[in-house]
Symmetry: C2
Subunit: 564 residues, 2 copies
Amino acid sequence: MKTIRPPWSESAPTPGSFRSIAKYGNPRAFKHPSDAWVRMMMQEFGMTEDDFLQRRQEGLESVVVDKPSRLSEAQLNALAAIVGDVNVAVDDYSRVRYASGKTAEEILELRHGVVREIADAVVHPRDKGDVQKLVEFCARERIAITPYGAGSSVNFGCRPYAGGISLALGTHMNAVLEINEVNQTARVQPGILGPAYESALQNAPERFGCQRRYTCGHFPQSFEYSSVGGWIVTLGSGQASTYYGDAYDLVFSQEYVTPAGSFRTIEVPATATGPRINDIMKGSEGAFGVLVEATMKIFRYAPDNRARLGFMYPSWEAAVDASRQIMQGEFGFPAVYRISDPEETDRGLKLYGVPGFADPLLERLGFEPMKRSLCLASVEGDRDYTRLVSRKIKQIAKRHGAISLGSIAMKMWERTRYAEPYMRDDLNDFGILIDTLEAGVTWDNLHRLHQGVRSFVKSRPATMCMTHASHFYPQGTNLYFIFLARMDLEEYVAFQTKIIDKIVENGGTLSHHHGVGRLLAPWMNEHLGVEQMAILRAIKRHFDPDNIMNPGGQLGLDEIPPRR
Amino acid sequence: MKTIRPPWSESAPTPGSFRSIAKYGNPRAFKHPSDAWVRMMMQEFGMTEDDFLQRRQEGLESVVVDKPSRLSEAQLNALAAIVGDVNVAVDDYSRVRYASGKTAEEILELRHGVVREIADAVVHPRDKGDVQKLVEFCARERIAITPYGAGSSVNFGCRPYAGGISLALGTHMNAVLEINEVNQTARVQPGILGPAYESALQNAPERFGCQRRYTCGHFPQSFEYSSVGGWIVTLGSGQASTYYGDAYDLVFSQEYVTPAGSFRTIEVPATATGPRINDIMKGSEGAFGVLVEATMKIFRYAPDNRARLGFMYPSWEAAVDASRQIMQGEFGFPAVYRISDPEETDRGLKLYGVPGFADPLLERLGFEPMKRSLCLASVEGDRDYTRLVSRKIKQIAKRHGAISLGSIAMKMWERTRYAEPYMRDDLNDFGILIDTLEAGVTWDNLHRLHQGVRSFVKSRPATMCMTHASHFYPQGTNLYFIFLARMDLEEYVAFQTKIIDKIVENGGTLSHHHGVGRLLAPWMNEHLGVEQMAILRAIKRHFDPDNIMNPGGQLGLDEIPPRR
């Protein structure tokens, strides 16, 4: 097949355009699919050279919305009196930008110039005092508040279904306030993005006069464009979570402003003083109140100790078995640990441009396409610890028929780990839809969930389905499904709905680390059961009796408006 | 000083007597203070040989209570119809037994034949179906339910302040139902005691046809007389928690029966589906509903890999510093890890009968009495892991001026670890009061809390105060205070109240692993703050609108009746 070079977009979107909201990350950063991937897509999707001649529905138009703000002049003045004029915006662009996350659906709609629910104003609080006054004012006036961290939500979590205000927490509330070196904790504002947070920790001696350098241990794929507050309230997981823990595990204490009052949870490593408020608040997705400060656990930064490992297993089953032995082996845990199913393994080899000779070589060794399974891992911590854990992983891998790929594959992965999301813009430019869903699962249910979802997705012709597990525990892991196909949005929404059905039917959780938002809300009653949803609703009623905090279906707590 | 041998009790209490309820553990098991301890007490408390001539207030009388059951004949019949005649008891002895925990206060009162609140009947459910029917019936009839696990509560957690029924969960609901070897979990009934649970896991091949042997990882001092359900609902910690985690960390999923309905939480290693119900229920101390089943994480049983360590540090400060380095060292964690403050170290050496020559030897090496600090540790897990962690601990200990005591001290401690509570009966027999309080604390607040509590306790003449830290985390630990003195109950209650004040004033949590019960309830509003208590009360109202679940001050959720 002829190698073609599609006219990938290489220019930053025009300021004020829909594309400037839809595009991922840095406006001037791009990552294009490899030549091999283009060939693969042409083959899989029956696309011709003509299909790649010209970009489509790029969303180049300026954002204009025919939805006047429903806040009164008096209300807007009151908001401005709290945060200052410059921190209240009612222009169309701001209102759309801070209403948008990164679901496939809203990205495609933005490219078509379609706008759904937006807030009546965007407010940028300067500090927690502002948030306190805003929540009091909005509670009095029954104005809805939708907190916005950094907009990496993939479930309509920051879409202001009931209008009111979008609360932009990243504009001002984005500092590391304190590093406590004795306790190894950092007190931060919720709107700080990953890189600024990590940089402050790594530069703790220069920035805070600390004796050591630290790391936050939380590196989701969205690291560069997600906020610490967002990690906590949506229960995110970083790519090194197998060692460092999920966001849930990293939170030492929190401070919230809610319509029912403000509070800071006690700072202790453990306490037996009844159900732990610090944990009850995690995952509340802005529906209970606003997270205004968090004290996070931090870790010694020792990049030189990092060991990088890569393996090819003869089969997915072997990779899963070995991984379970590793996680239950009681010798410590790797930091990053990922296994790719056969489809992802083969497509991944192509995506990362593994040289053509590698493939036949692997085959000759018995690692057959659509059977073999890639494993990437890194180990962090004390140097002797990383050596021990690496050695144990290698031993178990070998016993399960894997060959070592050395450290090169992991290094390649590290280099591009945050760049993957950029490819979506390229794919969308040529009518190819890409999306993901993910679920937590126990070991004994992993294959059923994998097959259950996969067999449904693959029953649709010309549809790619790549799966990996990337967050491990002694009791199980997660499955992360990536779908690619040429289909329109109508079809996709129906398709996605059925995939979620399959996840629930096959015993996965609705989400392992993306959160619920509104996307998954319709399944919550069935998934948790009405008795458990009633608990969450009771807590919601306590905090927010007038339902002003992120109302409109978030977490399935109240009625979910039709999505489209 | 002359060595005297007090007439320690060596006979099992008469069945039906107050003493049979007050005495700890196995009626035929005893552990007496060493000769050196008797000498020490005589010296510290100014006691003479006469004081040890005769046991006092032994509680030998038969339990008789002048409190007729307030349940009607019809209600008692209805209860019997649910669980069977044989499983409803209204006799005085049962009602007192299942109302009693192990606070110093109630033990002393029992010895005096004083009985406080008791239930109107004791009901022994056969299974969770029975619990369901009982909760429904009691909700309808507004009959209070006080769940009783194994009665090791040290905070009046199972005292039925509002009468009604004591729900004895250990009588029938005490089995391991299933071991899931793939997920490494065990599904158990709540009333099973530690030894039966651990034995089922260690004998998993014989009992469940498993391939491996397992351990539960949870070994509180009350291990032999506490229940798995109790561990969970009171947020207990085992002595090996530094590696295995607290009870909080060990719970994979739970099933509850509440007045608002029954539910089982989902079984997954992690989920981002909103605030985690599985965690909200932990620590609910019977006030939300009845825990009827739990799935627990389990671990590979590898006793041969266990490494045992012991160190003497020149000072408490050095021991604390070294411990922090160990917990933040990122090379893994020891299982048991304990450091004793100088007073506990010196009294401990005497208690364990360390030969007289050891003391001068230690002194000669610069480890001075009332300065030196004992550290005991064990490491479990994979053999190479235990070697690595042991080596690292030794290195850090050495750097902090400690000398190794080899494995002997740890072995001695292991042999007597569950026997300590037996000594209370001996001490009480001769008018000596012993009690404990404990708190969670961050590293940066440890010395303040230690000194704050200690200086208050030691301001009372003739009062021993021994302190250790025994549950460690990268961010801090706990402090466990043991008090001994000759004082009457009136004075003690006032003294205890002031100690608790000191804990709160100095930034400890009200409890690290004993729970709240009613003892600590009066401090909860101040400790958590009214906003956070309001959250717990809102959840309580949801589950139990008529306040039938363990009412009367538990967790500080409703009004706390005067204690005495």
